[in-house]
């Protein structure tokens, strides 16, 4: 069913009681052309583009729980593409361009809002790094501006940024095409669009092992039985090491909790995404009115989806340092997601030592923004059994050659 004003009106007349399911409840078949392990945003996007752009119709997406309850529903919804290195800028910019037409493409309102992303500089060093990054971005055709302290104050009067504040703002790097999107809608939209193209989305189906014959993957074992596949893509952010261990593959990944908070809803006060590196916090205001606040990740490996209290304490300290106006705001929810972090803070997309088993992992603290682009290039990769040109340098082999894409230093706080 196509969503439209007419469909809305028709369903309003019947009290909204007859909307059909957004995607089919599928059973696992015994064989597929491609199986995607992991039904988060990236996995669903991969399945969608495989069906849409490459005509592959016999696809399954396996999800351990229900769609959208993993990292897809746990991030802080920031979208941007202002990465320093050429490889990253090309990949994330491709993703941002897909975001710009996504709601129309999926016939699903992803609430993508290009409200701008502003990175604040508090030290001379941060400012110099921003100038360098802005130069690199402009050379790569990515939009970017540097603001003076006066311009920052004009755009963000709430900010305590004057000479008398503890951390006077020296400038800011702005990407106006950046912004936020509704994370659940992205998963639901891709699931619905993929399902309409014939993709089987199998929920409550946990992977228990791979069938590997002669160095080549032949299928999966799951809690709902086995299934054969010509090719398998693993997109299981937060559990990449655990899943790949089932295939006997070790990864250059460590998994950490990353926490976030949401405040009670208030009237619109913050019209852009603000990120601060030195005073470590980043935030935006959702359309519902809640402040969505992100922090640093915890420092120890964990799969528990909870972190240490002192991390959010520091995060709120940073928030109040920059925005004293929020001091009496109550926080409604706090949670953590598990992020798979690579040594260079860039993702791993490409081959594994097992033939026909491909991986898309290690997006660290910033995978949400890459959802459309990641799915697009991974679908191309699975369809052609050859890495998409944009991810040629993102393979596992870089941890042997030493040709890292070191965004770790360039990221600052920003995710």
């Amino acid at each position: 069913m196509r969503y439209s004003l007419l469909a809305l009106a028709r369903n309003a007349l019947s009290g909204h009681a007859h909307w059909p399911r957004a995607w089919r409840a599928a059973e696992l078949k015994r064989s597929y052309d491609v199986i995607i392990v992991g039904g988060g945003g990236h996995g669903l996007a991969t399945a969608y583009y495989l069906a849409k752009n490459h005509g592959v119709r016999n696809i399954a997406v396996l999800e351990r729980g229900p769609i959208g309850l993993g990292n897809t529903g746990r991030n802080t919804t920031v979208v941007r593409s202002n990465y320093l290195w050429d490889d990253s800028a090309a990949l994330y910019e491709h993703s941002l361009k897909l975001w710009e037409g996504l709601s129309r493409e999926l016939n699903y309102n992803t609430m993508f809002s290009q409200r701008g992303v502003m990175n604040l500089a508090f030290t001379r060093h941060e400012l110099v790094e921003m100038e360098r990054r802005c130069g690199a971005l402009l050379l790569n055709g990515v939009d970017c501006e540097l603001l003076t302290p006066a311009e920052v104050r004009r755009w963000l009067p709430l900010l305590a940024s004057g000479e008398s504040s503890r951390y006077p703002v020296l400038g800011a790097l702005v990407q106006r095409r950046g912004g936020t999107a509704r994370h659940d809608a992205v998963a639901w939209g891709y699931a619905r669009a993929a399902s309409a193209l014939g993709v089987d989305i199998v929920e409550h189906c946990a992977l228990t092992g791979f069938r590997i014959e002669g160095g080549r993957v032949a299928g999966v074992e799951t809690t709902r039985g086995h299934s054969a596949a010509a090719r398998i893509g693993v997109v299981t952010a937060g559990h990449s090491s655990v899943v790949m261990q089932m295939a006997g593959v070790r990864l250059p990944i460590q998994s950490f909790p990353l926490q976030a908070l949401v405040s009670e809803p208030i009237k619109p006060v913050l019209h852009t995404v603000v990120m601060a590196g030195l005073v470590h916090v980043y935030l935006s205001q959702s359309d519902k009115g809640e402040l969505v606040i992100g922090a640093a990740r915890d420092s120890y490996v964990s799969y528990a989806q909870r972190g240490s209290f002192h991390i959010i304490e520091e995060q709120l300290r940073g928030l109040l340092e920059l925005f004293p106006i929020f001091s009496r705001l109550r926080m409604m929810r706090q949670w953590a997601g598990i992020v798979d972090v690579t040594p260079d803070a860039s993702p791993i997309i490409g081959r594994t030592p097992v033939r026909d088993l491909w991986i898309n992992a290690g997006w660290g603290t910033g995978g949400f923004k890459a959802t459309p682009g990641s799915g697009f290039v991974f679908a191309h990769t699975l369809a052609n059994n050859e890495p998409h040109p944009l991810i040629r340098n993102f393979g596992l082999d870089r941890f042997v050659s030493g040709r890292l894409i070191d965004e770790a230093a360039a990221a600052g706080v920003a995710h």
């Binding site: 559990h239 090491s241 655990v242 070790r250 990864l251 250059p252 990944i253 460590q254 998994s255 420092s299 120890y300 490996v301 964990s302 799969y303 528990a304 240490s308 209290f309 002192h310 040594p343 941890f399 042997v400 050659s401 030493g402």
Partner: protein, 90 residues
């Protein structure tokens, strides 16, 4: 919040410590292949369950030590000074 039993100072809040990741990683000889060097430098077990790791008591005695910690329950079952093994089997 973790309560970490430092072998020298006793149980302390985890905000006093720096997590050092997986422990007992042996540095290979200089003439190993790039693949083996890459394994040493970057690849980790990233265990789900009991993991042997090293912690640094940065705001206390400033010593490194080994810890056996469950990465799902966060329960710490054993510690040992640097250079000494953990009793539980890895």
């Amino acid at each position: 919040m973790l309560l970490i039993p430092c072998p020298w100072c006793g149980g302390r809040n985890d905000s006093e410590f720096v997590a050092g990741g997986e422990t007992f990683i042996e540095r290979p000889a200089h003439d190993v292949s790039d693949a083996q060097w890459g394994q040493y430098l970057y690849f980790r077990r990233n265990t789900m369950g009991a993991q042997a790791e090293r912690w640094f008591h940065a705001m206390g005695c400033r010593r490194w030590f080994n810890v056996l910690r469950d990465t799902v329950t966060h329960a710490i079952t054993e510690t040992s000074p640097m250079g000494a093994p953990l009793k539980a089997k890895q």
